[in-house]
Symmetry: C2
Subunit: 201 residues, 2 copies
Amino acid sequence: MRADAVRNVERILRAARAVYAETGPDAQLEEIAQQAGVTIRTLFRRFPTKADLVRAALEHGIAEVLTPVVERALTDDDPLRGLVTVIEASLALATSEYNLLAAARGAGTLTADASAEFYESMTQLAQRAQDAGLLRADLVPDDLPRIMGMLVSTIWSMPPDSEGWRRYLALVLDGMSPTAGRHLPPALKHDRISPTAHALA
Amino acid sequence: MRADAVRNVERILRAARAVYAETGPDAQLEEIAQQAGVTIRTLFRRFPTKADLVRAALEHGIAEVLTPVVERALTDDDPLRGLVTVIEASLALATSEYNLLAAARGAGTLTADASAEFYESMTQLAQRAQDAGLLRADLVPDDLPRIMGMLVSTIWSMPPDSEGWRRYLALVLDGMSPTAGRHLPPALKHDRISPTAHALA
């Protein structure tokens, strides 16, 4: 891509995140193009469907907000603290990009390809926390996207940008504790291509 | 409603559940009308939009499958066992009506009005379990639909009709145990009219 094309994409994605945040899950593409200072033709050339734009805007948010947190968390002396920090940052992102996430659910096209790297890092942290006896030993990597999906699901019953998810994170962390007692039934393979998959799941 | 109209509604809803289960979340209304033995006009007179039909079909499933379980659970000597039985029956229903539930998510019109009575019964069981020291004392009624929503969210990453949700139920029950140790941040009021609310949430 030429440098001006790269700049246009960056401006479109930043505008998309801002306009969705302001106006709700039915944000208008014309308004996004206008705020980005590009023509609607340019926007459509880069993002042929609204679903493409929504997915790219979410990935933009993940890259900008989450990636630096994950990198720091991987160097945390306390792997459980690192893991919890990553989960908290993900849920804070999910609430700040609430409308984009709602649009992605509506579009029903979101896959979790973008977050493969994210889950690899989470898996590393979780395994180190297990080795240190800080996390129940019977958790497996396929549990992590489902646990994230469970936590993200709570935000739809709350006002956008609230921190009400913290209560359910505490509850789920208690269930993930090494002293939690129930036998866990087997984990099914996580089907990442589910048409209705959550953004971060 | 006249007796034949009542019969038609019953046949349409039963056909809707069967056709959705067979053909997926994009089931055709013509096929449902045909299987119910009514004209498409009759179907549209009773259910002006697909969202109306999907919601009514889910309510039909709840009334048929869940209500008897809830009534029995309310008389269980062990209120925690009663509560768990109700949660298990709900998740079994959610997986058997997977496609209807997926269609409802897509339609984005589902409210939880239908399940107000359901959550009242769950609240009764949860409070009795708390009184008996079987459930953590800091859970409040608004937690119950969110916990159900979390558990339902896990089914989208699994094949329809699987029982993989049992693993996450065990994990969450460990978090709901009276010996679970974390301080829970405050519970926000559950916003039942969220446009993207889950069927059972």
